[in-house]
Protein backbone atom coordinates (compact mmCIF):
# COMPACT_ATOMS: atom_id res chain seq x y z
CA UNK A 1 0.00 0.00 0.00
CA UNK A 2 1.11 3.51 -0.80
CA UNK A 3 1.60 5.53 2.29
CA UNK A 4 1.69 9.31 2.42
CA UNK A 5 2.45 10.74 5.81
CA UNK A 6 2.27 14.31 7.02
CA UNK A 7 4.34 15.56 9.91
CA UNK A 8 1.50 16.90 12.04
CA UNK A 9 -2.23 16.34 12.26
CA UNK A 10 -2.85 19.61 14.10
CA UNK A 11 -0.73 22.74 14.25
CA UNK A 12 -1.30 26.11 15.89
CA UNK A 13 0.94 29.00 14.90
CA UNK A 14 1.02 32.73 15.44
CA UNK A 15 0.67 35.38 12.75
CA UNK A 16 4.03 36.15 11.17
CA UNK A 17 5.66 32.84 12.07
CA UNK A 18 7.42 30.75 9.44
CA UNK A 19 5.65 27.40 9.16
CA UNK A 20 6.92 24.16 7.67
CA UNK A 21 4.57 21.34 6.68
CA UNK A 22 6.31 18.10 5.78
CA UNK A 23 5.08 15.28 3.58
CA UNK A 24 6.73 11.93 2.91
CA UNK A 25 5.69 9.19 0.47
CA UNK A 26 7.09 5.68 0.43
CA UNK A 27 6.30 4.51 -3.14
CA UNK A 28 8.99 6.22 -5.18
CA UNK A 29 6.39 8.45 -6.83
CA UNK A 30 7.53 11.12 -9.26
CA UNK A 31 4.80 13.68 -8.58
CA UNK A 32 3.85 15.32 -5.31
CA UNK A 33 1.17 17.91 -4.61
CA UNK A 34 0.07 20.31 -1.91
CA UNK A 35 -3.60 21.29 -1.62
CA UNK A 36 -5.61 23.29 0.82
CA UNK A 37 -9.16 22.28 1.64
CA UNK A 38 -11.71 24.81 2.80
CA UNK A 39 -15.46 24.31 3.31
CA UNK A 40 -17.37 25.15 0.15
CA UNK A 41 -14.19 25.62 -1.87
CA UNK A 42 -13.10 22.03 -2.35
CA UNK A 43 -9.47 21.13 -2.96
CA UNK A 44 -7.30 23.85 -4.38
CA UNK A 45 -3.80 23.16 -5.68
CA UNK A 46 -1.06 25.26 -4.12
CA UNK A 47 2.09 23.78 -5.69
CA UNK A 48 3.17 20.55 -7.28
CA UNK A 49 6.49 18.92 -8.06
CA UNK A 50 7.19 16.50 -10.91
CA UNK A 51 10.79 15.73 -9.99
CA UNK A 52 13.38 16.46 -7.35
CA UNK A 53 14.06 20.20 -7.19
CA UNK A 54 11.36 20.83 -9.83
CA UNK A 55 8.20 22.65 -8.91
CA UNK A 56 5.32 24.48 -10.51
CA UNK A 57 2.76 26.87 -9.12
CA UNK A 58 -0.78 25.70 -8.75
CA UNK A 59 -3.90 27.81 -8.55
CA UNK A 60 -3.22 29.58 -5.25
CA UNK A 61 0.57 29.84 -4.67
CA UNK A 62 0.59 33.30 -3.10
CA UNK A 63 2.05 33.27 0.40
CA UNK A 64 3.51 29.77 0.01
CA UNK A 65 6.73 28.19 -1.19
CA UNK A 66 7.83 24.57 -1.50
CA UNK A 67 10.96 22.48 -1.35
CA UNK A 68 11.74 19.06 -2.76
CA UNK A 69 15.33 18.08 -2.05
CA UNK A 70 14.65 14.33 -1.99
CA UNK A 71 12.22 12.34 -4.09
CA UNK A 72 10.19 11.10 -1.15
CA UNK A 73 9.83 14.41 0.68
CA UNK A 74 7.88 17.54 -0.27
CA UNK A 75 7.69 20.50 2.09
CA UNK A 76 5.24 23.37 2.11
CA UNK A 77 6.49 26.61 3.63
CA UNK A 78 4.41 29.51 4.84
CA UNK A 79 6.97 32.32 4.90
CA UNK A 80 4.93 34.56 7.20
CA UNK A 81 1.75 32.90 8.36
CA UNK A 82 -1.47 34.89 8.24
CA UNK A 83 -4.91 34.16 9.64
CA UNK A 84 -6.32 33.60 6.14
CA UNK A 85 -3.99 30.60 5.84
CA UNK A 86 -5.91 28.78 8.54
CA UNK A 87 -7.02 25.67 6.70
CA UNK A 88 -6.67 21.94 6.17
CA UNK A 89 -3.55 21.14 4.15
CA UNK A 90 -3.40 17.91 2.17
CA UNK A 91 -0.37 16.36 0.55
CA UNK A 92 -0.67 13.85 -2.29
CA UNK A 93 1.58 11.86 -4.59
CA UNK A 94 1.18 10.08 -7.92
CA UNK A 95 3.41 7.69 -9.77
CA UNK A 96 4.07 9.74 -12.91
CA UNK A 97 3.38 6.71 -15.13
CA UNK A 98 0.12 8.13 -16.54
CA UNK A 99 -2.07 6.22 -14.08
CA UNK A 100 -3.21 9.59 -12.70
CA UNK A 101 -4.26 8.24 -9.31
CA UNK A 102 -3.28 10.53 -6.47
CA UNK A 103 -2.70 9.15 -3.00
CA UNK A 104 -3.44 11.55 -0.18
CA UNK A 105 -2.07 11.94 3.31
CA UNK A 106 -4.40 12.43 6.29
CA UNK A 107 -4.02 16.20 6.29
CA UNK A 108 -2.70 18.86 8.65
CA UNK A 109 -5.21 21.17 10.28
CA UNK A 110 -3.35 24.48 10.62
CA UNK A 111 -4.70 27.29 12.77
CA UNK A 112 -3.01 30.69 12.60
CA UNK A 113 -3.90 32.99 15.49
Amino acid sequence: DVKVTQSSRYLVKRTGEKVFLECVQDMDHENMFWYRQDPGLGLRLIYFSYDVKMKEKGDIPEGYSVSREKKERFSLILESASTNQTSMYLCASSSGTATYEQYFGPGTRLTVT
Binding site: N31, L41, L43, L45, E56, S94, A98, Y100, F104
Partner: protein, 113 residues
Protein backbone atom coordinates in the same frame (compact mmCIF):
# COMPACT_ATOMS: atom_id res chain seq x y z
CA UNK B 1 -12.88 30.35 -13.24
CA UNK B 2 -13.96 27.01 -11.90
CA UNK B 3 -13.15 24.33 -14.43
CA UNK B 4 -15.21 21.55 -12.86
CA UNK B 5 -18.62 22.41 -11.43
CA UNK B 6 -20.17 19.96 -8.98
CA UNK B 7 -23.71 19.79 -7.65
CA UNK B 8 -25.43 19.51 -5.25
CA UNK B 9 -23.28 20.72 -2.33
CA UNK B 10 -24.96 18.36 0.09
CA UNK B 11 -27.45 15.53 0.02
CA UNK B 12 -29.32 13.50 2.61
CA UNK B 13 -30.85 10.17 1.63
CA UNK B 14 -32.32 7.18 3.38
CA UNK B 15 -30.58 3.82 3.42
CA UNK B 16 -31.22 2.06 0.14
CA UNK B 17 -31.68 5.30 -1.80
CA UNK B 18 -29.70 6.19 -4.94
CA UNK B 19 -27.86 9.48 -4.50
CA UNK B 20 -26.67 11.09 -7.73
CA UNK B 21 -23.85 13.63 -7.87
CA UNK B 22 -23.37 15.67 -11.01
CA UNK B 23 -20.32 17.36 -12.49
CA UNK B 24 -19.80 19.51 -15.57
CA UNK B 25 -16.61 20.65 -17.24
CA UNK B 26 -15.62 23.14 -19.92
CA UNK B 27 -12.18 22.09 -21.07
CA UNK B 28 -12.48 19.52 -23.87
CA UNK B 29 -8.83 18.58 -23.36
CA UNK B 30 -9.76 16.74 -20.16
CA UNK B 31 -9.49 13.01 -20.71
CA UNK B 32 -9.64 11.44 -17.26
CA UNK B 33 -12.48 11.86 -14.79
CA UNK B 34 -12.09 10.37 -11.31
CA UNK B 35 -14.26 10.48 -8.23
CA UNK B 36 -12.67 10.70 -4.80
CA UNK B 37 -14.28 9.79 -1.49
CA UNK B 38 -13.27 11.42 1.77
CA UNK B 39 -14.27 10.29 5.24
CA UNK B 40 -13.99 12.67 8.22
CA UNK B 41 -10.41 12.92 9.45
CA UNK B 42 -8.99 11.20 6.39
CA UNK B 43 -7.52 12.29 3.09
CA UNK B 44 -9.50 11.70 -0.11
CA UNK B 45 -9.12 8.31 -1.79
CA UNK B 46 -9.83 7.29 -5.37
CA UNK B 47 -13.23 5.64 -5.67
CA UNK B 48 -13.76 5.14 -9.40
CA UNK B 49 -12.60 6.79 -12.63
CA UNK B 50 -13.61 6.93 -16.29
CA UNK B 51 -12.10 8.00 -19.60
CA UNK B 52 -14.22 9.61 -22.33
CA UNK B 53 -14.12 6.61 -24.65
CA UNK B 54 -16.80 4.88 -22.56
CA UNK B 55 -20.21 6.13 -21.44
CA UNK B 56 -20.54 4.14 -18.22
CA UNK B 57 -18.39 2.33 -15.71
CA UNK B 58 -19.50 0.25 -12.72
CA UNK B 59 -17.54 -0.86 -9.71
CA UNK B 60 -19.69 -2.58 -7.13
CA UNK B 61 -22.47 -0.20 -6.08
CA UNK B 62 -20.80 2.82 -7.69
CA UNK B 63 -21.46 3.83 -11.31
CA UNK B 64 -20.08 6.70 -13.36
CA UNK B 65 -22.16 7.92 -16.29
CA UNK B 66 -20.35 10.05 -18.85
CA UNK B 67 -21.89 12.30 -21.51
CA UNK B 68 -19.13 13.64 -23.73
CA UNK B 69 -21.34 15.85 -25.90
CA UNK B 70 -22.86 17.55 -22.85
CA UNK B 71 -19.49 17.65 -21.04
CA UNK B 72 -21.07 16.14 -17.97
CA UNK B 73 -20.46 13.13 -15.77
CA UNK B 74 -22.20 11.81 -12.70
CA UNK B 75 -21.77 9.34 -9.86
CA UNK B 76 -24.62 7.06 -8.83
CA UNK B 77 -24.50 5.08 -5.58
CA UNK B 78 -26.84 2.11 -5.69
CA UNK B 79 -28.42 0.77 -2.49
CA UNK B 80 -26.68 3.44 -0.42
CA UNK B 81 -25.57 2.54 3.11
CA UNK B 82 -24.79 4.65 6.20
CA UNK B 83 -21.12 3.75 5.63
CA UNK B 84 -21.25 5.67 2.34
CA UNK B 85 -21.68 8.90 4.31
CA UNK B 86 -18.69 10.96 3.19
CA UNK B 87 -17.68 13.88 1.03
CA UNK B 88 -17.40 13.12 -2.68
CA UNK B 89 -15.26 15.06 -5.12
CA UNK B 90 -15.30 14.85 -8.88
CA UNK B 91 -12.15 15.80 -10.73
CA UNK B 92 -10.67 16.03 -14.20
CA UNK B 93 -7.23 15.79 -15.73
CA UNK B 94 -5.59 15.88 -19.11
CA UNK B 95 -2.68 14.07 -20.73
CA UNK B 96 0.66 15.73 -20.36
CA UNK B 97 -0.50 17.70 -17.34
CA UNK B 98 1.84 16.12 -14.80
CA UNK B 99 -1.15 14.16 -13.53
CA UNK B 100 -2.62 17.34 -12.07
CA UNK B 101 -6.25 17.10 -11.08
CA UNK B 102 -8.82 19.88 -11.09
CA UNK B 103 -11.36 19.17 -8.36
CA UNK B 104 -14.99 20.12 -7.96
CA UNK B 105 -16.04 21.73 -4.69
CA UNK B 106 -17.29 18.51 -3.19
CA UNK B 107 -20.59 17.13 -1.98
CA UNK B 108 -21.33 15.97 1.55
CA UNK B 109 -23.51 12.88 1.50
CA UNK B 110 -25.40 11.69 4.55
CA UNK B 111 -27.13 8.31 4.41
CA UNK B 112 -29.58 7.86 7.26
CA UNK B 113 -30.26 4.38 8.66
Amino acid sequence: QQQVKQSPQSLIVQKGGIPIINCAYENTAFDYFPWYQQFPGKGPALLIAIRPDVSEKKEGRFTISFNKSAKQFSLHIMDSQPGDSATYFCAASMQGGSEKLVFGKGMKLTVNP
